[in-house]
């Protein structure tokens, strides 16, 4: 292709060629770098450890806090109730959720993240308004930290009850607790980057749905209705 060129045109075309080749190499490098960055964008689901504020981290932190209160309520019911059904249900809830908390905290430790929100802001990771317009909550004295959670006052009341009153109030609080936590699990089951986080969230949804049926049944047997 270059053979017919004369000596007259050789010098400028040599410089031009160098320029063109340099530009081409740079362009290819830039393209490669850009593609590489696209693949490794922060928050990208393919990176090994999810970033702070990601769905994976936020879900594990906030669901662990939500679960811990469920465990607390179940332990109160198991300590104070004499009803075998209630005690069995309470054991099931407490041991299952404690095991799940352990999984989530183990992952958080691997990711070098806090076990729970360090600044009292919850559910900030559920920011895709298209799915559930929940938005973040900030800790306020006297208010539940997250939907479904009991206040300090309600927990104190639960600790003071016994017999049928205890059973009914425990069921009412736990039904509300399960229902309130479901949107978090639904969100994470769809949006989390790590497959094992999505699997756990999905499992929570399924097992809690069947637990809800059991608790509603127990509540009806005791002639009571869920909290409004």
């Amino acid at each position: 292709m270059t053979s017919p060129e004369t000596s007259e045109s050789e010098r400028p075309s040599g410089v031009a060629r160098t320029l063109v080749i340099t530009a081409a190499v740079l362009a290819v490098l830039l393209l490669g770098a850009a593609i590489g960055l696209l693949v490794k964008l922060p928050g990208s689901t393919s990176s090994a450890a999810p970033a702070s504020g990601s769905v994976d981290v936020g879900f594990c932190q906030d669901m662990a806090v939500h679960h811990l209160q469920g465990i607390q309520m179940a332990n109160i019911a198991r300590d104070r109730s004499t009803d075998p059904d209630i005690r069995q249900l309470a054991f099931d809830i407490a041991s299952t959720q404690l095991e799940q908390v352990g999984r989530m905290k183990g992952w958080l430790m691997m990711w070098n993240e806090h076990e729970q929100s360090p600044d009292g802001v919850y559910m900030a990771w559920m920011n895709d308004a298209g799915i559930h317009g929940h938005g973040a909550t900030t800790a306020t004295p006297g208010q539940p930290l997250m939907p479904g959670m009991a206040t300090t006052e309600e927990l104190t009341k639960l600790r003071g009850l016994s017999g049928r009153d205890l059973e009914v109030y425990f069921l009412q609080l736990m039904i509300r607790h399960h229902v309130g936590g479901a949107p978090m699990a639904e969100y994470a089951a769809r949006q989390a980057g790590q497959p094992f986080v999505r699997t756990l969230a999905d499992n929570m949804l399924k097992s809690q749905t069947s637990e809800l049926d059991v608790m509603k049944d127990y509540l009806a047997k005791r002639g009571a209705a869920p909290l409004p």
């Binding site: 017919p4 075309s13 031009a16 850009a34 593609i35 970033a51 806090h114 800790a139 004295p141």
Partner: protein, 275 residues
């Protein structure tokens, strides 16, 4: 392919047959525009990603400063005014016994077998130190305040950091030498007001930091204690108080900072007290 070639008018007549075709060919604007477009796109993507990563890194760095990690095991060492002591996981004392603590409020040493419930509890009345210290051993942060100096708004700000937040407890501490004192196992920071940014930095650095408390995984629940908290004892401990070294042959003495060991005396600590 041929777009880069500068085949200008200085062509030799020898190649006339071919040049007649080439010379009449217009500048390859389409190719040039396409190349510029691709380069522009690549530049845009690169620039966007670069700024995103920069911003993200800056944010992460600011957060990471107070976040325990493999490379930053105890971020609280960067806090101005922090007091750090290396306490081992310690022996238990009876409800009737006192411990001659070496710090006020105490943040390590022998303690009651009943831990103060630390499931995000706001204690309205002052609580016995021997129980609070056991809560610290389970990874909690204890916010103590002087009830004569911290009230209303300031107290609400402290409550917002404690109430309902797992592994956190708040209680008045009569006679406290500063308005607010923060404790976690082996760590203490005293501050003058509830707006001090070091409060959140202390919590971020130390609450359930697996590198700084002895019993990783221990529970904060103790509903028995919560129903009837042991009250604060104002008198100084007498000569019969348990000394800081436990008073006995404390043979289990490994426990170094950054390498929490499981103290043999704490076996009963992980069992719910009610069972």
């Amino acid at each position: 392919m041929t777009s880069g070639k500068k085949t200008k008018a200085t062509r030799n007549s020898v190649a006339a047959a071919r040049s007649s075709v080439v010379a009449s060919k217009p500048k390859p604007w389409g190719t040039i525009i396409a190349v510029i477009a691709v380069l522009g796109l690549a530049g845009g993507v690169f620039g966007y990603a670069f700024t995103q990563i920069q911003a993200n890194n800056a944010k992460e760095a600011a957060l990471a400063k107070w976040k325990p990690s493999d490379t930053n095991k105890d971020p609280s060492t960067q806090l101005a005014g922090i007091v750090i002591k290396d306490y081992k996981g310690s022996r238990h004392v009876e409800p009737t016994q006192r411990v001659a603590y070496d710090q006020t409020p105490a943040f390590g040493g022998p303690h009651d077998s009943q831990w103060a419930d630390c499931t995000g509890v706001v204690y309205d009345k002052a609580v016995r130190t021997e129980n609070m210290v056991h809560g610290l051993e389970h990874g909690a942060v204890w916010i103590a305040y002087n009830p004569d100096q911290v009230k209303d708004d300031a107290l609400n700000k402290l409550k917002a950091r404690a109430e309902g937040q797992p592994y956190t407890m708040l209680s008045p501490f009569p006679g406290l030498d500063k308005p607010i004192s923060l404790q976690s196992w082996g760590h203490q920071l005293k501050v003058d007001n509830a707006d001090d940014e070091r409060i959140d930095q202390f919590i971020s650095s130390l609450r359930r930091n697996p590198n700084t408390y002895p019993e990783v995984g221990a529970s904060c629940e103790n509903s028995q204690f919560l129903s009837n908290p042991a009250p604060f004892v104002a008198e100084k401990p007498g000569p019969d108080a348990v000394p800081m070294d436990g008073g006995k042959d404390d043979s289990a003495t490994e426990g170094q900072q950054g390498q929490p060991s499981t103290p043999p005396t704490s076996g009963s600590g992980s069992t719910p007290p009610s069972s």
